[in-house]
């Protein structure tokens, strides 16, 4: 037990050390094209359990049910590790879309910025731990709307 803990700790320290060295010596490949800036990645929203709590954290408001959001996802996922999810909406002036998996440890799976000229459509593949509601949130004219669909997951997507 003690040994295991110590090994875990050692590993953590070593891992951090290696990462530090890699950064320090410029081993991380420097690309001609600038990497995206992840400083504004919504860390807190990605660490929040529960759908409503996550929407509040992410957008600072509640989302209203809308039938103008269409979701295309399987009734029974063949494997929770790879569940295709498509969302499209006829709501106007869409600036953002988010995908939430209600029963995952943290609900938020992905958020998307939809700049002007980009269509309010996204397709992504997500992991789901168990049978769950999947919620699509759409920001239209500055307000949040949502739609929900249930997916049965018989083989969970959290390893094993």
């Amino acid at each position: 037990m003690i040994d295991q803990t110590r090994r875990g700790l050692l590993k953590g320290v070593l891992g951090a050390g290696v990462a530090g060295i890699a950064l320090g010596s410029g081993l991380v490949p420097l690309r001609a094209l600038a990497a995206p800036d992840a400083s504004k990645w919504p860390k807190k929203a990605f660490a929040t359990p529960g759908v409503d709590e996550t929407i509040a954290e992410l957008y600072g408001m509640e989302a209203e049910e809308s039938d103008k959001i269409s979701m295309d996802l399987p009734t029974i996922a063949q494997n929770g590790a790879v569940v295709p999810v498509k969302v499209e909406t006829s709501l106007p002036n869409v600036t953002g879309i988010a995908l939430l998996v209600a029963k995952n440890p943290n609900a938020l799976a992905a958020t998307f910025e939809i700049p002007k000229g980009t269509l309010p459509f996204i397709s992504n593949r997500l992991k789901m731990a168990e049978t769950t509601d999947v919620v699509a949130v759409v920001i239209s004219d500055g307000k949040a709307y949502k739609a929900t669909q249930n997916v049965k997951v018989t083989v969970g997507g959290c390893g094993g």
């Binding site: 875990g8 590993k11 891992g15 990462a19 950064l23 991380v28 490949p29 690309r31 094209l33 600038a34 990497a35 995206p36 800036d37 992840a38 990645w41 919504p42 990605f46 590790a81 790879v82 569940v83 295709p84 498509k86 998996v101 995952n104 440890p105 943290n106 938020l108 799976a109 992905a110 958020t111 998307f112 910025e113 939809i114 700049p115 000229g117 980009t118 269509l119 459509f121 996204i122 397709s123 992504n124 593949r125 997500l126 992991k127 789901m128 997507g157 959290c158 390893g159 094993g160």
Partner: protein
């Protein structure tokens, strides 16, 4: 080394459809390896697609996005032959980028 990004962009009726696949483990931090040790989280946090110097799509991803993530999106205003730049960065600061030509 081969690029971690494979992308296809097709223009039809003024709309460009982009499909991309990124090679990445997307480890959630909730899974143990065969020896029972937690595999630390390692996932792409941000992926951007830009055209003509401006972003046409920005994704913020968490660890619930599947291994080797797939993405499809659509935008207006691109022409055949235009270049798109697709870039990602993960939670360890690793990144990659590629360009695709609209067909």
């Amino acid at each position: 080394m081969a690029s971690s990004i494979r992308a296809r962009a097709v223009e039809s009726g003024g709309v460009v459809s982009i499909k991309a696949l990124v090679r990445h483990p997307m480890d959630s931090g909730f899974v143990k390896d065969s020896a029972g040790n937690i595999i630390p989280p390692h996932f792409i946090q941000k992926l951007t697609i830009s055209h003509d110097g401006k972003n046409v799509f920005v994704a913020d991803w968490g660890p619930a996005v599947s291994k080797d993530p797939f993405l499809e999106c659509r935008f207006e205003g691109g022409k055949k032959g235009d270049k798109l730049t697709i870039s990602w960065i993960d939670n360890k600061g690793e990144s990659d980028s590629t360009t695709a030509t609209i067909a």
